[in-house]
């Protein structure tokens, strides 16, 4: 049944390169992610609106002009955590529903590129969220400008966001191919993100006291180191596991 002579296929102008390179692939994926989000506005507006609404609710429910220290840090980080969950849940939906996974798996590229690109996408979402949410938090719940606390807070946010981005990407990749993805994503993400929230809140707490006119204190270095270590450990776990999550 084999061996029938067929005409020589004419060579076309395509010149496939067997490996497009990790960072070129990351750049292509990241560009696609941001274009899709800009066109659909499915994730970032929802995350931001959720955070703003939550701060408004806290403002009126607590019936206080200002919060500080542990209470303020707790409100900030729990709100950011739940807002992040909204973005995590949507992270792979377009790929799963529109065949993006298959298209990526058919390409001769490093699978880690998707982990990096998705984590960077989530990081970008979180950055926009915090650009909106943190000033709103200061306005509605601190009653004073963040001022000198800002550098320490930005450092804490960056370290915590790295952890949220890596863990969120890992969890979203696990959940998206299941029938109960909307349920499974948060259920897997929340316990893994608890240490990030604790670290973020403990590192932020003295900063918010400092921001308050009567307060003193500095960034809790111990908790920043904890966040950094957690990021490193989960970064390594994600790199080790991610390829298997994409495979059949």
């Amino acid at each position: 049944m084999s061996g029938v002579q067929t005409p020589q296929r004419p060579r076309e102008t395509a010149q496939p390169v067997r490996n497009a390179g990790l960072w070129r692939t990351v750049a292509a994926l990241l560009r696609k992610e941001l274009l899709v989000e800009l066109r659909t506005l499915e994730s970032v507006p929802a995350m931001s609106l959720f955070a703003l609404s939550t701060f408004v609710v806290f403002h009126f429910a607590l019936n206080r002009n200002s919060v500080e220290g542990d209470l303020g840090a707790g409100i900030l980080w729990v709100t950011l955590l739940f807002a992040a969950i909204l973005g995590i849940n949507r992270l792979f939906v377009a790929d799963a529903d529109q065949g993006g996974f298959d298209a990526f798996l058919l390409a001769p590229v490093d699978r880690s590129a998707m982990l990096i690109a998705k984590a960077l996408t989530l990081l970008a979402y979180l950055a926009v969220l915090e650009l909106i949410a943190v000033p709103a938090f200061a306005l509605l719940l601190l009653g004073a400008p963040l001022g000198p606390a800002l550098p320490g807070l930005v450092t804490t946010l960056v370290l915590a966001d790295l952890g949220v981005a890596v863990i969120g990407t890992l969890v979203a990749a696990m959940a998206v191919r299941t029938r109960a993805r909307d349920l499974l994503g948060p259920l897997l993400a929340l316990p893994l993100l608890v240490p990030v929230v604790i670290g973020g809140a403990r590192a932020t707490s003295p900063l918010l006291v400092q921001a308050h006119p009567a307060g003193v204190g500095g960034p809790a270095i111990r908790w920043l180191l904890t966040l950094g270590l957690y990021d490193l450990v989960f970064g390594l776990i994600a790199f080790a596991l991610f390829d298997f999550l994409l495979e059949d």
């Binding site: 029938v4 296929r9 010149q15 298209a103 390409a107 059949d248």
Partner: protein
């Protein structure tokens, strides 16, 4: 004599308890066309997904383009073009943005994207989001996506669905016999697709019910698969 493009021996694949493919054995020379017939749920799409490295075979020996699957799947990726039921394109991106994205993944130039958009007569609509295009237009872009990287092996699942006769002619140089590529076509259309075949495989409930060179196939045997 050159190595066969496809060599399957006892291929099996199941989903949980359900057997989707079992005992599929065949050989296909480079440049030949295998047409797979069978009713819905016969295992045609599963066969294509195994050959595309998207599903692992659970038993049997599978060699695609000289590489053993699943161990050497990396050697097959980028040499296979898959045109399935889903276009594998993002609805919010334009045809051009979609093809450029795939071109980046495969290390192909933008010149090739431009050339293919012209080849499927989508040049004038290339800047519109896919969600605004008709299903036939999306299928034409999907054809361009499938051959963007000049694959050696084309895996086509009812490739002419949603295409009008003019569009079928339009895409023939890319995915038809004239392309010279090795092809595996899943079909429900014996009258149209039998003429393209070198080898015919008939599947029923995941098992081969017919395997023959096209010259030896009785069309009645194909009709029997659907009864």
């Amino acid at each position: 004599m050159s190595e066969p493009a496809l060599e399957l021996e006892g291929l099996a694949r199941h989903y949980g308890e359900r057997e989707a493919l079992s005992g599929v054995s065949l050989s296909l020379a480079a440049g030949q066309t295998l047409v797979v017939f069978g009713p819905n749920g016969a295992g045609k799409t599963t066969l294509l997904r195994v050959l595309a490295t998207l599903l692992r075979p659970h038993a049997g020996d599978v060699r695609v383009l000289g590489a053993n699957l699943p161990d050497q799947a990396w050697a097959v990726r980028g040499r296979v073009g898959l045109l399935g039921h889903e276009p594998l394109l993002y609805r919010e991106l334009t045809a051009r943005e979609n093809l450029r994205f795939h071109a980046r993944l495969h290390g192909v130039s933008d010149e090739r994207v431009h050339e293919l958009l012209g080849a499927v007569a989508m040049g004038s609509r290339a800047g519109e989001p896919l969600r605004t295009l008709s299903r036939g237009m999306v299928q034409r872009v999907a054809v361009a996506r499938a051959v963007l990287h000049d694959p050696e092996l084309l895996l086509l699942d009812e490739p002419h669905s949603n295409l009008d006769p003019a569009a079928v002619e339009l895409v023939a140089p890319l995915i038809g016999a004239a392309s010279g590529r090795t092809r595996v076509i899943c079909s429900h259309d014996p009258t149209g697709d039998l003429a393209q075949a070198d080898v015919v495989l008939g599947l029923r409930a995941g098992r081969p019910a017919l395997l023959s060179a096209v010259a030896e196939v009785d069309p009645g045997e194909i009709a029997e698969l659907y009864r």
